[in-house]
Subunit: 304 residues, 3 copies
């Protein structure tokens, strides 16, 4: 066992060995995740789910992961109906939930919330998204998806498309990919391009990357197309949004000569046309499924 | 095993053999449903509960059914706190939940929603009510209740009382009863009578039925009284509602010479007086319980 | 087995033997509550959770308790999304939930609700707080906490501080403490003092007690300091609240010469300063944990 982390807060706490360790355990979890084998490893163990923000995917996949391992969950998925309404602070709520559970998974709207909780409770904490901050389990399942399809995360080209400025998912992903020998192509509207700070970090670690405007011009040349939502609210001028939107969307026709897998953290709005769903390129629902073996691997590793 | 359905969408997909198969399995489930015996048949299996509309009875009885079988559930019971708030369409949410579960049970406000989901996901789907559409598990537990008390669904008279126009429950029940050798008596206000289309369908299959106005005149002559709620909102004129309401309600005194069992899909408002609860006629709470063995039978049959 | 109660409605139904029986079973539950040992005693058993009012602590600790015992839960933690919205009365909802479960735990805003439900369903009922009424499991975990730290509930001084007028928690606690050989000191603002009725009841059973105004003057002289929230809403004049508030709050500095344990039913607002949390006096989070072994003891005892 060469995994050193107690808490899962940021993908930047992981080195390449940590990532590979978790992805390997995740592979072992496949038969359980696919419901081919029942598992009792975590019988009687409880995961405390503290979700201060709405979520279907992340929450349900953590719940399935814990339950497929034989464990169970307690918690809340909104502020309503909890002591938070009575004015209880995060610190106290976390103390309480930690008394009733063997690990905590936290989604919060404030950046740094997960680190704060991890520093103050005795049980392991998994960050399931903290505002503009980190969402490391999403990054791990993204990496798992690429490795699962491509065999290795190596010698491939990954296009990251859409809102590269505000999306926490792609920021984390980029730092993770930089640990592996891959080439990244950033494709976004000018107003939503990858922040300079991250670009500079990539340069420091000699990550190979390029910056492009057109998705279609690059679509046949990449192994992975990682799509993200472009949110209307990001544009001061709605006509600017309408102009840009179609260029960073993808249809079945666009993929006719492409072998790339199409990924998306979901939910999508209209950046991936429904006709893509039945193509061999479509990997976003499988990617969602991959949250299960990956989160099982994390839960199995950090819950004693 | 002579049960052919993968999904449970409409009672009209069932033939008499299918119904009897499920009712027989349900009988076998009684000791587990009554908590006399622990069961591990569905250890590690997950039921995805997608409830877009409020429900106590149906949701909780599915949850108990799955848990008594050794399995567990994930899901949501309202739109709030899910990706639906972010604008995710039913198709995508269903894809996601299907990745995390071994079967889906869906309640939705749009007719046809269950069939749509069943056609688009790989796991079995159970319809727990889709708007004005179908609610087949309610019908199966109604039939189970009659069979459980009467021994056979045969040579009996069933009065169906109240709102026969809008109630999806009674529409499904009528089609199901028509498969068996029973006589149906429809008792309702003129404005809420059974739709002509269904009456015509009954004629086609030679189902014996009659249409009556008075509940009291028929109460001593039937084996089953199936009550339903009459909703004030159905009447353009509130005085019309008040006039009608009392005539389609039932008290202990009304039943003094009757051996009929009283059923109701619940929740009731005031169409069954509380003094009926302690009579031998009252079967509506037992009927609610019967949702457990029947839903266990369905879950056990369709989840591999 | 010398425990006689079927339902857990009020601490006043308990005699000293009943209390001690439950506290002893709770001690036996510690290894399971601490997640050192998996337990399958309640495999397949279902606890019906009916929470009509928001709660984190009580609800989650019941859920953890049931799940650590091998059982599971169904239910709701708010009125929204249930048949209550359709106008279903408590009686009917309780009938339904009792059909699906082996015991019910109820929190309701109306005093007497738990007794009413217990009188009308066949399964055991646990009161998790009914309005201004009782909250017996809180009292039991309070007693357990004192016994756990002090060895015996005997020959000790317990200060009860803050809002002694409206707090149902302290009312129940006082009646329970009166069964044991302890001395109680009531410390509160004049407007929030312990009701005369309870004071008279204490006199009848020869319970030793005194009434004080100052927390600081008594802090080094007691074994237990039981803090409660003082709610602004209780004061017609907000300046009166501000004047009083600080006097019934506690800081690390205040405790420097005290060996007393500090307890609180939580959530706290600002009556216990965060700097107390790391002192040896602080017992409120451990007290919250103690809800698990105590509730496990109750569930194990009343669910067959």
């Amino acid at each position: 066992m060469n995994f050193k982390l107690k808490d899962i807060i940021s993908i930047r706490d992981f080195d390449k060995n940590d990532v590979e360790y978790i992805l390997n355990v995740a592979e072992d979890m496949e038969p359980i995740a696919q419901s081919k084998v029942a598992c009792h490893k975590k019988d009687g163990k409880i995961l405390g789910v503290m979700f201060y923000e709405p979520s279907t995917r992340t929450r349900l996949s953590f719940e399935t992961s814990m339950k497929r391992l034989g464990g169970d969950i307690i918690g809340f998925n909104q502020k309503q109906g909890t002591s938070i309404q009575k004015g209880e602070v995060l610190y106290d709520t976390a103390q309480i939930v930690s008394q009733y559970s063997d690990a905590i998974v936290l989604r919060h709207d404030m950046e740094g919330a997960a680190r704060f909780v991890a520093d103050n409770v005795d049980v392991p904490v998994i960050n399931a998204g903290d505002g503009a901050g980190q969402h490391p389990t999403q990054t791990l399942l993204d990496l798992y998806t690429i490795r699962h399809v491509k065999g290795e995360i190596k010698d491939i080209k990954v296009a990251i498309v859409g809102d590269l400025k505000y999306g926490r998912t792609v920021h984390s992903l980029v730092y993770a990919l930089a640990m592996f020998n891959v080439e990244i192509i950033f494709i976004s509207p000018e107003d939503l391009k990858m922040p300079d700070e991250i670009i500079n970090d990539l340069r420091k670690v000699n990550c190979k990357f390029s910056i492009e405007k057109s998705l279609l011009d690059n679509i046949n040349d990449v192994d992975v197309i990682y799509m993200t939502r472009i949110q209307k609210e990001r544009f001061p001028d709605p006509t600017e949004y309408l102009k840009v939107k179609g260029q960073y969307a993808i249809t079945k026709k666009d993929l006719v000569n492409s072998n790339a897998i199409v990924m998306h953290p979901l939910p999508r709005v209209d950046e991936i046309c429904f006709d893509v769903d039945k193509t061999d390129n479509a990997m976003y629902f499988k990617q969602a499924f991959n949250g299960v073996p990956v989160r099982m691997a994390l839960l199995d590793t950090i819950i004693k």
